[in-house]
Symmetry: C2
Subunit: 354 residues, 2 copies
DNA sequence: GCTATTGCCGAAACCGGTTTCGGAATTCAA
DNA sequence: TTGAATTCCGAAACCGGTTTCGGCAATAGC
């Protein structure tokens, strides 16, 4: 109850050069130095340069906490882990976080990570984090078609960027990988190999990527002049088990597909299982193509033909976009998509029934 | 060049209740409120309670940045991703981070994640992060036998906790899972099944866990009165490929082992590969036990007998310890180890040559 | 009953920045 | 040459806290 102040001087006044140090070194006041460093118009170019040079020379870094209490911004990006999420995405997460922090630090920002176990807690976390100025903005992984996070943040005016796209672009900016193009290319690849009965196992229906990939699959089928058999369309599969089950159903049809396009690699690996159980050889009896580029795919037998996405890079891009957004750049310049890269390995082959 | 101040009022004065609000609501000065909330001795118990209650009622939260500029502490824990690390640990990382942020937020702390691509950059990151008060302390994953991070942080007096142990406990506190006990138990388990020629494939030699697990293996062999055959000891294997190679060498010996203890699950899966290549059935011709509890192990054929570690919980524990450490609790009360839990699945069986 | 403590709180300085305001020096217009 | 408009910087207030210092009232000591 009598635990007074700090027990140790611990790291407090460890020789930070302050704005006053810079000011007195130049025989100016700290207000002038501050304005010079923040590009105020009422500072002459000459002294602005003097100040900037001296700050550089003295290795002066403004203490972001001190700035924050006046400006409200603390140069940090927020990311909230959603604990309830299925673990299938966990491997990406590490890469993704690495990219985020890399992109942040590159611009002098820091990354604040919090966690929430459900949706209401999630929204609450956004609120407290920005109220307490622990984050100037947020990056939201896995855009959903109806995204509650977007609603809240858009209304409160807190900057955010999406990994994934949004139908209503109002207030949104994003980075995304064009999964729809990948799905279309997958169909094209299979059609060239002579496949006609091509099945599609889509991912989680609540996510916007699923909608896009479905569109891509349909576009590819249309391009190849192939009819869509509704029996060959499955959805909402994200795990290996989901994939095994969906593929089992497909393979047990009276007229089974000769190729299966999966929106998610883990699902493709489930197809491997279902095929093995039916003594079908992947790449000969049945062709499979995935999407994501997980490591296990490369090590599977045969190695999985897929589209690899660079999660690390996505993190870097999103951090960069968010910082621009926080600095007030125009929204419509802050939307970017890139293609996934096709990796043709061993899980596809010529159609067995030409 | 004329980019003045903030483009938007964005989130600055969004209705925060300040210490002055609380003070005037009670007709006190903010200095009194501050001291009351920080348990200063010169505040009467009566007013202390009044203040605490009112603060509670008004939902007052001190702005950590404002506190930081005076106290030097900002209620945030630091974690630095080491990018160069082999990816084998990536799956844990996500769980681990989830635990860290969970443990942090539970105590009103926040988690700051940065990244570094090499050792010098890593040390530099520690420095800037604590200099700029982005972190009050650090959690260091994967303790090494000679750990440069420990050296630096110990010398500079920055609080830190280790995931893993240290021979020289000076200035260190940690949380760890007793891998040595697991290795000993693994040997015991195999010995009971009649195995005598038991091999050991250890993990990365620079890490302290490897030393401990080796000791545990030796202890187990001693307990079972089994001799150590140096030919059956392999080390520095962390990936599936490492494991495949090491196991291949073991299995090709004139007198191969009948069981293999692996310090790391990925390596155990490599043993599966090597066994399959030699048409040996896991659990019958050769027994394998792993350590870590990775998901792939549960799905392997046969499911891998292993010791599962709860990375999430480790994160929670470490965050808790670090916060205590920052608050100045005695070091020797801040060291904790727990056992891994044995999961007996299908990869071990009776010795084929009794 | 008077002084010396002690308990308790207010006043004010401070932390490291930002921002408003005002005024001196210079330039411009007449 | 003078008045007005600019240019540029210092002074001071402020942000939301913490901490030092000093003083008043109540208690204790004699």
């Amino acid at each position: 109850m009598t635990r007074n102040a700090s027990t140790s001087p611990g790291g407090a006044n460890r020789s930070r050069v302050t704005i006053s140090d810079v000011a007195s070194a130049l025989d100016l006041t700290k207000s002038t130095v501050s304005r010079a460093l923040n590009n105020y118009a009422d500072i002459s170019e000459a002294t602005r340069l003097r100040v900037v040079r001296m700050a550089e020379r003295m290795n002066y870094q403004p203490l972001s906490q001190a700035q924050a209490i006046k400006t409200g911004r603390t140069r940090s990006l927020g990311f909230v882990l959603q604990l309830g999420d299925h673990d299938a995405q966990r491997p990406f997460l590490a890469e993704f976080l690495a990219g985020l922090s890399e992109g942040s630090t590159a611009q002098g920002y820091t990354l604040t990570v919090a966690s929430a176990d459900n949706d209401t807690h999630l929204i609450e976390t956004f609120r407290t984090l920005s109220r307490d100025r622990k984050a100037d903005g947020f990056v939201l992984p896995r855009a959903m078609i109806e995204d509650p996070r977007v609603k809240v943040l858009r209304d409160t005016g807190v900057p955010f960027v999406l990994y994934g796209r949004q139908t209503d672009p109002d207030g949104c900016c994003w980075f995304d990988i064009r999964g729809e193009d990948a799905m279309r290319d997958a169909v094209q690849h299979l059609a060239r190999l002579g496949h006609k009965r091509i099945a599609f196992i889509n991912g989680g229906t609540i996510y916007s990527y699923a909608k896009l990939r479905s569109e891509g699959f349909h576009a590819g089928m249309a391009d190849a002049n192939l009819p869509i058999d509704p029996k060959l369309i499955s959805e909402n599969a994200v795990t290996l088990e989901n994939g095994e089950q969906a593929a089992g159903a497909l393979l047990d049809l009276a007229r089974p597909p000769t190729a299966i396009v999966c929106a998610v690699d883990h699902v493709a690996l489930g197809v491997y299982r279902a095929a093995a159980a039916r003594e079908l050889i992947i790449g000969r009896d049945i062709s499979v193509v995935g999407y994501d580029g997980i490591r296990e795919g490369a090590h599977a037998q045969p190695p999985l033909t897929t589209f690899v996405v660079d999660s690390r890079n996505a993190g870097v891009e999103l951090a960069t976009l968010l910082i621009k957004r926080i600095r007030g750049e125009a929204l419509d310049t802050l939307r970017k998509t890139v293609p996934a890269v096709f990796v043709n390995r061993g899980s596809t082959g010529a159609c067995p029934h030409p």
